[in-house]
Symmetry: C2
Subunit: 462 residues, 2 copies
């Protein structure tokens, strides 16, 4: 935590300071604050932090880092969960949180262009003035650039897709400081290689995203939610499969396992039945919501759902969503002083109930508390290992459980991460999942970043 700059990056830092002046900081507190994300994964304070405010700043910084062979680690809001923004002592951290300009809102084209550091909440505040919204996003507020870099999604992917489906174009700074544009503003294009999708989800290892053009959407006329409980996880997934096959355009469908329901009951006093639980959200006109919710309710009844509780006014909607939104804080409250380690996998929905059941058996067998919530419509679920303070055995058990979770998902045709990304934490999982394609990823990395200075060690190990 107290590593000092090496002589190599001392020269680079001198040059950065000469070019970017007071934007470059070697203050110890700043370096420590910007050296890591929210994960439990290893990090060191970088040798310097560059507070970038423009694409030109990023370009200048990368050109210097590249010349000196100094690693450059980008960070936005720092809300990642797999160490994707974690620094090492020899790195220069590019702090992009100051790139928070909303550059253009295209109300007639339902698109917007923002700097990478814009927070999702700020974007939505600005869009609201135009009757628009950007619905994609993880549970916590995050920067748009970070969301694009990790291929983030969240509860609304079942309706609106992930960042992959919603980024139309990018400004990217390459390893040597070259600035390129990918994609554009048209809704679709068949012009050349899809570099936009290559950089989205590459976690800053192929280039640094500085501007993002997004699809945006009209704010729905009305919203309603319904919560209900089921005897088994299989009932939950069967209802969701039937809903999707019927083409009912639900905007969210979230699963809470019995442990999560118990946890939020204790935390918020909601008094929900301690059973697998689904929360559905419907958007549209009041009459289409009435139709869609009634279709879903019939499917719920057919699959032994109980306690259907429906709300269409904001106060009651918010109360139902509390069961989901309070899940993570409620976990930490279960064990005083504990920390949580969230992980995620995604499987074909036909395997979801089985994957969750086997995973619960595994965590139970090892005495690890690990409640589950899931974006059922995508087959994506999250496990949060609750780690008592100072319990190294629990950490080791969680790591082993996480490894088996990934293996289980892969054996079912799934993926090692649906939305958290690879970062530092899942490089071995990626190597398993894409064994045949890994050399292609490595070849692309080498072609675009021959000196390996861009966020080294992330996505591709070593």
């Amino acid at each position: 935590m107290t590593a000092l700059p090496t002589s190599t990056n001392a020269a680079a830092i001198d040059e950065l300071a000469a070019s970017l002046g007071s934007k470059v900081s070697t203050d110890r507190g700043v370096r420590a604050a910007r050296g890591h994300d929210r994960s439990h994964l290893p990090w060191e304070p970088p040798s310097a932090v560059v507070h970038c405010t423009s694409t030109a700043d990023v370009s200048t910084a990368l050109a210097i880092c590249s010349r000196h062979g100094v690693p450059a680690v980008p960070i936005g809001a720092g809300t990642g969960l797999e160490g994707g923004a974690n620094s090492t002592a020899d790195a220069v951290c590019l702090d992009l949180s100051g790139m928070d300009g909303i550059l253009r809102i295209g109300a007639r084209d339902l698109d917007a262009t923002v700097q990478c550091g814009v927070m999702k909440s700020s974007l939505n505040a600005a869009l609201a003035d135009h009757g628009l919204t950007f619905p994609v996003g993880p549970g916590v507020d995050a920067s748009v650039g970070g969301m694009a870099s990790t291929g983030a999604s969240g509860t609304t992917a079942v309706r609106y897709g992930t960042m992959k489906e919603n980024v139309l174009g990018l400004t990217v700074v390459l390893a040597d400081g070259t600035v390129i544009k990918t994609g554009g503003r048209s809704r679709k294009s068949a012009a050349g290689y899809d570099l936009t999708h290559l950089f989205v989800g590459a976690e800053g290892t192929l280039g640094i995203l500085t501007e993002v053009t997004l699809r945006v959407y009209g704010i729905p006329e009305a919203t309603a939610v319904a919560i209900c409980s089921f005897p088994t996880l299989e009932n939950c997934t069967a209802v969701v499969q039937a809903t999707l096959e019927a083409g009912v355009p639900i905007s969210r469908v979230e699963l809470l396992d019995d442990v999560t329901v118990d946890s939020v009951n204790r935390y918020t006093g909601l008094g929900l039945p301690v059973m697998p639980t689904l929360i559905f959200e419907f958007e549209g006109s009041p009459s289409s919501i009435a139709e869609h919710s009634s279709t879903v309710r019939a499917l719920v009844d057919r699959h032994d759902g109980v306690g259907w509780d429906y709300a269409d006014e904001p106060g009651r909607i918010g109360r139902i969503w509390r069961a989901r939104h309070d899940a993570l804080p409620s976990y930490a409250a279960l064990v005083p002083g504990s920390s949580t380690w969230p992980t995620d996998v995604c499987v074909p929905i036909s395997r979801l109930a089985e994957c969750i059941t086997l995973t619960k058996e595994d965590t139970d067998a090892h005495g690890v508390l690990a409640p589950i919530v899931g974006h059922v419509g995508d087959g994506n679920f999250h496990l949060a290992f609750v780690l008592p303070p100072g319990d190294e055995n629990a950490v080791a058990a969680a790591a082993a459980l996480n490894g088996r979770l990934v293996d289980r998902a892969l054996s079912m045709g799934g993926t090692s991460t649906g939305e958290h990304g690879i970062g530092l934490g899942k490089t071995a999982s990626l190597a398993k999942e894409h064994a045949s394609a890994l050399p292609v990823m490595a070849a692309i990395k080498k072609a675009l970043d021959p000196r390996g200075i861009l966020n080294p060690g992330k996505v591709l190990a070593g």
Copy 2:
């Protein structure tokens, strides 16, 4: 058209024949038949055609071509419009049309895996048995692999997206014959570089797609269409913008310009008003269709639409769609013996009316007949140059108009092709559109195909 194999590819062909036996043909008729797509662009019969029936065949063929440095040009249905499957005399053509196996239909997961040569119509026939459909697709029947390779879309992109949004995973044979898998079966993944999207739309220049896993959809309960006419193109785009902003989930919205309406009137006797015309399609339950069509009808009235004609039974629906489906054959009938040269661009929808208007002024000024249809919801439109037989001046005029069309689209923030791809025909357009990103595309090409044997000259010139 009669070029003989060179000594280099004679050796390669001997080796191909030794490994793949009767799957290798040097028959002149076969070589001529499989050497080109439907475009007017240059081609030569390849030196041999390999009728591949498996990924292993493609792997064997590419390993041999790679060793000998012989170009390999893949072709499926041959329905491309930009020369993407056109051969040269020194190339070996890999005919993938025999790879027509439907490998798996995942009714519970709404996905399917097919060999690349499966035609969209065959896939949909097989899916129909499960109550499912794959809605993405161009106007003509095409192979799924070809559609994926060109990033195709069609009339339903406004609702279902393009191939980019609907390919979940791929089996790809690399230049040296290595077989890799990309993506998978989960609905989303944040695991590593998005190679699926890199290969989709790369037109066989980075690898050859042999198996494709697709999202599929439940067949909608009901369908309805409505046709109506407008005084100006601006009225048309304004209605569609308002529809999209209101979040009405139309499944199609097609524009026919006055020239097209006149052309189909002559061809089919439909008697439509010769004005800019929209055809809307609605899918869902009868009550949601009633609601959505009534919302759209109110927007149509507000934007001076006239002659609203609505149909919700198959015969009348088919009759309305004839105006669109007969457009291309009707153009050819306008001038006896003529051929048509279709091209496409895509712009932000706010610029669509202006782009079409300026394009019509340009074609009128040069005396070239070029009717227009468009997927308005995407900002994508097609021009079909009608070329009288043997009129070289018309060809030259069309080429110049096409160049100005692309420049106009680019100046409006659009793209040189929304769905036809780059192929041979638009390599110069791509270089203009993505001037800054072109070196990155070239670096990726070089990293994945160092000898440049995969479909050379397509996408990236030279």
